[in-house]
């Protein structure tokens, strides 16, 4: 395990068209049909969005949750590159790919959700620096670019290693590009972390302007801090979740030792999050809503109980951190908790004063979201098949 050679990622070269991939394709096709309906009949044709409920499933899941769950990218980059724990390097590439695809799909989700998709470039010209959303949009835009740049060496590595197949000029260009990226990469890595801290927190600031609409269990001036902390907390569990799935379905290398290693940090961050949350509830006296048995309070209890406290307790124990099952289960808890939190803040905790209080997403909203997630998984599958992202199992590699 002390092998310092970390660049052992290779294209998987496994058959692409497995039954699982075909299921993804079915979801992609259904999603595409609803997307066509959205762009011919308008948002009303496929969604339950209304005057009272301008943001629904697409903002809650595709955008807010999508951004949070892509946090594996910047947390792993912080650990391996900025803190210099290169031991964890082999977790970096899959985390980077997930972040890159995650943010790409945040933008695709936004394109479907906003009324004038063709006008998405306008915030670059028309600035409103008072708007939290403006800052989020700028950060997401720049960060997505940064992620693509960070991913470029992986693409170059793939094509550079086949000298016979392309002409000399291309090889020269790849070499130059690699050298340039190698020299400047630290800028993008640091910028990626900074941009992430900015917009992960600002996603929480989005709701600071709605003190009368967001349920007091979630509305707090420290919402941005809570969003940032929960995004950091879910970073490593996402890496573990995805690494475990890749291992079992794509026979990639078992990174169990590394995963237990990074899982040490998770209970600490969850603990910070929990103390912030409890402290805020005590200071603001919002704990009185905890047990009033409304949909909001129950949803809150699930969010914090299953999503924060349970995985924190599980991961505090070293034996459990070293058990694949417990580690995977705890990671799922943290991920589920963050999904619950974002959905609670943007959907369940959002109480329009006049319109119908309940909102359930329409079939079209659900299938478009599923279609986008299936496309994301499909692209992940294609990219790990053809580009050096994952490390194969050791016995396979030798």
């Amino acid at each position: 395990m002390s092998d310092p050679d970390v660049h052992k990622s290779v294209p998987l070269r496994r058959p692409l068209w497995t039954p699982g991939v075909l299921v993804m394709l079915v979801f992609m096709l259904i999603g595409a049909a609803f997307i066509i309906a959205r762009f011919t009949g308008g948002i009303a044709a496929v969604s339950n969005l209304s005057t009272a409920r301008p943001w629904g499933l697409w903002v809650g899941i595709d955008v807010a949750t999508g951004v949070a769950l892509a946090a594996g990218g910047f947390t792993t980059a912080f650990l391996t590159h900025i803190l210099g724990r290169h031991y964890y390097e082999s977790l970096m590439r899959p985390a980077l790919l997930t972040a890159m695809l995650g943010y790409t799909f945040v933008v695709l989700g936004l394109l479907i959700d906003i009324g004038r998709s063709w006008a998405i470039w306008k915030p670059m010209i028309f600035w409103n620096t008072n708007s939290v959303l403006f800052e989020v949009a700028m950060c997401v835009m720049v960060y997505l670019t940064v992620l693509y740049i960070e991913f470029m060496p992986i693409v170059i590595e793939r094509f550079k290693s086949r000298p016979g197949t392309s002409n000399r000029r291309v090889q020269w260009l790849l070499k130059k590009g690699e050298a340039l990226l190698g020299r400047t990469m630290w800028i993008f890595i640091v910028a990626g972390v900074v941009l992430s801290c900015m917009h992960q927190s600002s996603l929480g600031s989005l709701m600071l302007i709605t003190p009368t609409k967001l349920h007091p269990l979630w509305y707090t001036p420290i919402l941005p801090l809570l969003f940032l902390t929960s995004a950091i907390a879910v970073g490593f569990p996402m890496v573990i979740f995805e690494g475990t799935l890749a291992k079992s379905s794509l026979q990639s290398n078992d990174e169990m030792a590394l995963m237990s290693g990074i899982a040490r940090f998770t209970p600490v961050i969850l603990g910070i999050y929990l103390s912030l949350k409890i402290g805020d509830m005590l200071v603001r006296g919002t704990w009185i809503y905890l047990f009033d048995n409304t949909m909001q309070s129950n949803s809150f209890l699930i969010e914090v109980g299953l999503g924060v406290i349970a995985p924190m307790v599980i991961l505090l124990n070293r034996q459990r951190r070293n058990s694949q099952r417990w580690l995977f289960f705890a990671s799922c808890c943290v991920i589920g908790g963050v999904v619950f939190n974002r959905v609670n803040v943007f959907i369940i905790g959002y109480k329009p004063p006049f319109g119908p209080v309940t909102y359930s997403p329409a079939v079209g909203e659900i299938f478009i979201t599923c279609g986008l997630i299936a496309t994301l998984m499909f692209l992940y599958r294609v990219i790990v098949t053809y580009l050096p992202v994952l490390a194969p199992r050791r016995e396979d590699a030798i």
């Binding site: 395990m1 005057t51 943001w55 031991y87 600035w127 708007s131 801290c197 302007i209 001036p221 959002y350």
Partner: protein, 303 residues
């Protein structure tokens, strides 16, 4: 890791160079608004008709004199910029009969509007005239204005696939700034329930009415202080809570988020500080790496 998180955390909660937040509202003595006297409204819905005509909205499903419209409480939508609702509050008229109250609702044209602060491109603006103005040519359709509005007013043309707009009252801004005419609803109102004028004048008028007839009015001018003030004001003979008016904080809604955003990101000082700190850490760490003993499994636990 913890150190970095703590650094970020402290930079988040401790605003540096925080300037006191200031209202960007035009002065009351120069900006316009309307005062609705609910005790005068007879529910004729002529304002709805005038509004529909001047804004070229589609004709209504039911004629304006069809009283069954009042059987349901309505909200403004993409085809109805203003609506009048009927409430039975238990108030009795001179003959001892239950008397209804009619309430016209539309955009309140807040003094410090949340929608204006929220709008990603600045498509929503607070005009010097007092109106909250929507410029569709800048709009991307994110609908954050609708999320931000405490009165749940802006509506959206969800059925349009490519060019939907936010629909809300314009205060007939073009009418009074260009043609020197009051808003269509105020012009047409037969009982003068809607008065158009400078906000300061309207506040004086409202106070005068409340003082002159203290028994007839609830001693509250709705919109004087709610969410920092609105250009559309209301006075009423029945408690506002009974006719579906929201109890709202007096603090302007954009204050918190704008203070936070500007104290954190003016001159991008906090991202620059964070970038510098992280770069220093990165280079210190990578120098250590040059040492022959590469960091391996024993490097855990030291963070």
């Amino acid at each position: 890791m913890k150190l970095g998180a703590a650094g970020v955390a402290s930079s988040l909660v401790r605003p540096k160079n925080a300037q006191a937040w200031e209202s960007k509202a035009p002065p009351d003595t120069e900006s316009f608004g309307c005062l609705t006297d609910i005790s005068r409204c007879i529910g004729c819905r002529k304002c709805e008709k005038a509004c529909s005509e001047i804004n070229k909205l589609p004709p209504p499903m039911q004629p304006y004199d069809d009283l069954t419209v009042f059987d349901q409480t309505r909200r403004p939508d993409a085809e109805h910029i203003t609506v009048v609702n009927r409430y039975h509050t238990g108030r009795l008229d001179e003959n001892g009969k239950l008397a209804p109250n009619y309430v016209k609702i539309q955009c309140m044209h807040c003094v410090d509007p949340a929608c204006v602060s929220a709008c990603i491109t600045g498509a929503m603006t607070k005009s010097d005239s007092g109106a909250v103005h929507y410029d569709a040519s800048k709009c991307i359709g994110c609908r954050y204005c609708m999320v931000a509005c405490p009165f749940e007013i802006p509506a959206y043309e969800y059925h349009k696939p490519l060019m939907p707009q936010v629909i809300k009252c314009t205060l007939c801004e073009a009418e009074f700034t260009r043609n020197n005419r009051p808003p269509a609803c105020a012009t047409v109102c037969p009982t003068e329930a809607i008065t158009f004028g400078k906000r300061s004048t309207l506040l004086e008028l409202a106070k005068k009415r409340l003082q002159k007839n203290p028994a007839q009015y609830v001693q509250h001018i709705y919109g004087e202080k709610e969410v920092g003030g609105t250009a559309w004001l209301y006075i009423s003979s029945v408690p506002f809570a009974k006719i579906n008016f929201l109890k709202l904080p007096h603090k302007p809604l954009p204050k918190l988020s704008e203070t936070l955003q500007h104290s954190l990101f003016s001159y991008l000082w906090s991202p620059i500080v964070l970038f510098t700190i992280l770069s220093v850490v990165l280079f210190k760490r990578s120098k250590k790496d040059v040492l022959p003993s590469s960091n391996t499994s024993e490097d855990g636990g030291k963070i």
